[in-house]
Symmetry: C2
Subunit: 305 residues, 2 copies
């Protein structure tokens, strides 16, 4: 019902970062794709099996180094049903390897429809109490707040009932995030309004570490806003995208942490997945390069917190 | 690149409504579930096959009566991978039967991630130009605007390139929709700000009927706002949820139409799917009851436009 499970893994690894698993085929080494196409055909299944093999290779090296992974659902949905099967296997494998799994789906809807999403990713599928299954057994899910409290509480309920978490979009990392999020109402920005409700939504889910199960997405590319939001949401865990490729620096993301050294998890996706390309390493060393980049990122960040 | 394809089907049927396909197992007649469980087992596959058989039965009767169907993705994701297979088959069957298909997924993300969602539901999955597939061949997708222009333009691009549509959440039908959407900035609500951008996002996609490919979701439960938004977005097609079960009346939703009798499509989901329950009809007549309710709704609405 809180972020305790995430915090435990962060403490175990001494690493407050999360590796995004957003596997476009372009990122996957040729030898992995060739093997998958030879075995399954150059088709949907072959593509999905290549993505899965890439993910597994990365997770094998990152296990014990990085506490969490964040599959971005869009990149699996992009490959259709086979892509979604690769997502299901990726989540299961991540759990086996001991990662905390944040599904980045930015889901949102109202009432019983929001309940359906919450059951899909934080709860369980069911026919009745005796017949249940879980194809996407994640620990946390990202959620878009535009629909208001009705659209968020069904997710909070799963946090309460099942020791799960959500991360609500507050201030996103993209260039046009301010278009709506920065609008000022009575001296307060929209993202600050959302932040105030994130506090309220999370109140019933505060764990033994003092953090609630309702986290916030706060982009690394807006360091001043990180600082303001840190004060406004003292009990909220921040999921911080935008470090590295999008321009967020370690000094910037350091502002997302509380004095206890906790309170934030910093995401990097492409810089880890494609580290072998940037390093000019042989493709066979893709996972080793990812591990080195993950360690570089860890030490880059923890020197400031 | 516009709503022309939808408008054509609305004119063919003389019916500006869309049937939501949100098939919870509770809605499905017992005889359909029993047959599916007998054939496939009382498990994920059996459940998904029951949903699909229910959808097909409904679509067989609604074809030619209702111009469009709107599967709500959450209810398929709720049943895991088998549920998503049922969604894929539902979309394909809807296309075969001549329906315009609006996938209600409220997807949202930034940059290349939004592109991935757009390709998944409005474009195609691909390895390269010679190897493509489409598991969810929808005509339109609902999109959440909280991330701003960066998060919407990748979807607009598919509208431009492929004669597809999107419906952007502007003013939703739920009780707490006003929490953020009604906030006032410099004399204008947030939903009006979003509406202004919907106009701009759609400018490159106006079709021969004068409507752009970028539509808006506007809830039937807020008739005054429908009227205001109709004036603010003259070239925008409105997808209007909230008629019937949520309290929106025909007089209310009539305000969503332009003087040309076009400009809106009114959704009903549970009232059509579960019409047999409300009518006390035998379960075997579920599809006939749905058709009768769809026709009742049609005539209820068109008398006002």
């Amino acid at each position: 019902m809180s972020m305790d499970a995430l915090i435990e893994k962060i403490k175990e690894t001494g690493n407050p970062t999360v590796a995004g698993l957003d596997p476009k085929l372009d990122y996957v080494p040729e030898f992995i794709k060739e093997e998958a196409y030879d075995t399954y055909g150059k088709n949907a299944k072959g593509a999905a099996k290549a993505l899965l093999a890439f993910n597994k290779g990365l997770m094998d090296e990152l296990s014990g180094i990085v506490p969490a992974v964040k599959p971005q659902m869009a990149y699996y949905e992009m490959y259709g049903l086979e892509g979604l099967m690769a997502l299901s296997e990726t989540v299961s494998y991540a759990k086996e390897k001991g990662f905390y799994v944040i599904l980045d789906g930015k889901r949102n809807d109202i009432g019983s429809t929001a309940e359906a999403y919450a059951e899909a990713y934080l709860g369980e599928s069911k026919i009745d109490a005796d017949t249940t299954w879980t194809d996407f057994p994640a620990d946390a899910l990202t959620v878009n707040p535009y629909l208001g409290t009705d659209g968020v509480l069904p997710f909070v309920k799963q946090c309460e009932d099942r020791d799960k978490g959500i991360f609500v979009l507050v201030k996103t990392s993209n260039p046009s995030s301010g278009e709506f999020q920065d609008l000022v109402i009575d001296g307060q920005t929209l993202y600050e309004r959302v932040a105030t409700l994130v506090n309220r939504w999370g109140m019933s889910t505060v764990g033994k570490t003092g953090y609630s199960g309702v986290g916030a997405v706060v982009g690394a590319t807006y360091p001043q806003q990180i600082e303001d939001l840190r004060k406004l949401m003292p009990n909220t865990y921040f999921l911080v995208p935008g470090y590295g490729a999008q321009g967020g620096k370690a000094e910037d993301v350091a502002k997302a942490f509380n004095a206890d050294g906790l309170g934030a998890i910093i995401n990097a996706s492409r810089s880890i997945m494609c580290a072998y390309k940037k390093a000019g390493a042989p493709e066979a060393d893709f996972a080793k390069a990812a591990k080195e980049e993950a360690l570089r990122m860890k030490y880059d960040i923890i020197r400031f917190i």
